[in-house]
């Protein structure tokens, strides 16, 4: 029987959640035995090559590329999981949500004392910035949420194994934290 396939992505995130995934220590060897990775920064596969069972999403959506990427994941993954505060509620990037995107761009590219180009980037190749940062579940259906900044390695491990074994999540008090 073929192994379940896992894909991962970091959208508007800091890769901290991916670091936490690696933080499962020697269990990573067991994980490799349990699953096969597809599109993911972990194995550097850039595009989906097959239908996946589980997609792990780090980060929310702050630009059009994030949105396309997320929709691509939804299409190619049976189960999609928001991993970490940014995926769940926008996280730190969403601190800009109370400020208009125009003001943000002007501050970053025009008014900031360290800029001298004084131009807001407008190349067609660049992703387009969204009016605010969106949690993943506002854009596609999300099946599970694993909170934390980053989520504890034990939480990610427990959630993956429970899913693979088809059992209920067992979440001890210590593993569910928002920071």
């Amino acid at each position: 029987m073929s192994k379940p396939v896992v894909a991962t992505a970091s959208l508007a995130g800091c890769f901290g959640c991916h670091m936490s995934l690696l933080d499962i220590d020697d269990r990573i060897l067991k994980l490799i035995e349990l699953v096969e990775f597809n599109k993911s920064p972990i194995d550097d596969i850039k595009t989906f090559t097959k239908q996946c069972d589980i997609g792990l999403i780090e980060g929310g959506c702050c630009n059009s590329e994030n949105v396309e990427n997320l929709r691509d994941f939804r299409k190619n993954c049976k189960i999609l999981i928001s991993v970490g505060e940014c995926a769940i509620m926008g996280g730190l990037p969403a601190m800009r949500n109370g400020i208009s995107v125009k003001e943000c761009l002007e501050e970053a590219y025009l008014n900031c004392p360290t800029v001298d180009d004084n131009i807001i980037p407008c190349d067609d190749e660049l992703p387009m910035i969204l009016d605010r940062v969106y949690p993943c579940h506002e854009i596609v259906k999300i099946d599970y949420y694993l909170p934390g900044c980053p989520p504890r390695a034990d939480l990610i491990w427990e959630a993956l194994v429970a899913l693979l074994e088809g059992r209920e999540l067992d979440l001890p008090y210590e593993v569910v934290k928002f920071d």
Binding site: S64, V67, E68, R71, S100, V101, K102, L105, E106, I120, P121, C122, D123, D124, M128, I129, L130, D131, R132, Y134, E138, I139, V140, K141
Partner: protein, 603 residues
Amino acid sequence: MGNLGTVVSQVVEKYNKDKTRLMDIVTDVQSELGYVSDEAVVQLAKALGVSKVDIDGVVTFYHFFSKTPVGKYSVYLNNSAVANIKGRSAVAKAFEEAAGCSFGRTTEDGVMGLFDTSCIGMNDQEPAAIINGVIFTDLTPEKAKELVADMKAGKEVSELVKNFGDGNNQSELIKSMVNNNIQKKGPVLFAPFETGSALKAAVAKTPDDVIEEVKLSNLRGRGGAGFPTGMKWDFCRQAEGAKHYVVCNADEGEPGTFKDRVVLTEIPEMLFEGMAVAGYAVGAEEGILYLRAEYLYLRKFLEKVLEDLRSKNVLGKNAGGKDGFNFDIRIQMGAGAYICGEESALIESAEGKRGEPRNRPPFPVQNGYLGYPTTVNNVETFCCVSRIMLEGGEWFKKMGTAQSSGTKLLSVSGDCKKPGIYEVEFGTTIQTLLEMVEGRTAKAVQVGGPSGTCVGKKDYGKRICYDDLGTGGSMIIVGPDRDLLEVVHNFMEFFVEESCGWCVPCRAGNQLLLDKLEKVMAGKATKQDLKELEEWSNIIKATSRCGLGQTSPNPIVTTLKNFPEMYQAKIQKDVDYVSEFDLKAAVQESCKAAGRIPNIKEH
């Protein structure tokens, strides 16, 4: 307009630096200065010896107080569901075009301000607006344009009223275009009444016997909750206190109700006498009529009625000719807050505070106005008491049903030929009412206003009474061609606007319900969303602190139950998720700022 410092100190002196009169103080400052500026707030705080945040809290709580200029003429256009049915949006547009400013704003020259406002008690003659306290009814876009032109020309607002309504609306002290629209008179409220007779009958008995008579009548509170009046008075009388108070709740804010407006206009003597009877029964010497700000136009008239009652010895020393029974009434104006219809919030407001309901126990009958035992009763309830004193509890009990004795004033509005006031016996069916008001084709009837129940055809055999369909009197008829979801939406917007903000489920929950309803209306909902509407409603109803949050989900709950097909038609079948996200809209602002054309790849 006077100098700020002088105005503040004069007004504060006028009320003897009594901070429990803050409602009156702020009202006076605003009427002198046009608004209550931050500087005025600071000065008021100093003069009253309180914190600035205490004054700010009150000024910002009430709809008709403002910290910014509201214009020489401030137009408050009702935005109730029935106003919308009757063509409000065209009127609003006409106001905006003629004035040159949008709602929620003041014209640049400061001449005019346009504002939305919750139901002003004119549902039988909508669209209606209040301009500087003067009521304008049956508005049309043409009339709106004329009004704006006259305001621009600097005319007095009172001069803009061309025709007066019926009955006392023509009185020198009212001179209003409001019509009473009394469609059906009944034996309790609208039978002939001789001033002084009810109190005379009451003081011939002992206070305990008066309470017994009220108990015998089975009279229940007419505001909607239906608490037995005799029992309330008994609790109040029994409660220990150096003083007792009688308060009349004339803050009818439930959208669609306007019966108290008509009572106050046509039979205020009967009401005030009922309050005097209550005063005699519970042992109070002071009564307060808490009058909603929307009915400011009746104040002068009511003050004169009180004067007359004093001269007839219905009020004052040895009132009703009873040695040792002294009773008088003062009018306390509200300032625009639906929540003040809740009795403990009303008391807080009358004490000069934010109109936030109190935690109970203790109840107002134990710990009410200024901490004294207080009975708060509805306008109509007091009138019933007057009649009961004359005709007896037995007579009263013969009318109505076992649990709901007597008659009820109904305020009927919406899609019917004969909107107005109906005094009917409890137990009347919805069907009978619809025939009376000529609204037979109704697809829905909102019984008891937004906080009540929305019923459809299959329930028109139900009876209007506490044991079947309870109501404070608001009956909104929704015709066959109306979009009922629009009505539900209007009601939910109302609750979001009027939630006091004290408790979490009402403050946040109603907003969440409104957003979810909008998702349904936009065709972006699934079966799961309907389930959540129901579940969330249940949470809000179960955990909210007062009647507002405990009933605010009712428009959704009762239409989900009685009109499920309406919701089913709006949802997307066979999908388990619909996103409200719109990529094109989301990138617009940033692309504009960067000067680039969005290049969205469609999936």
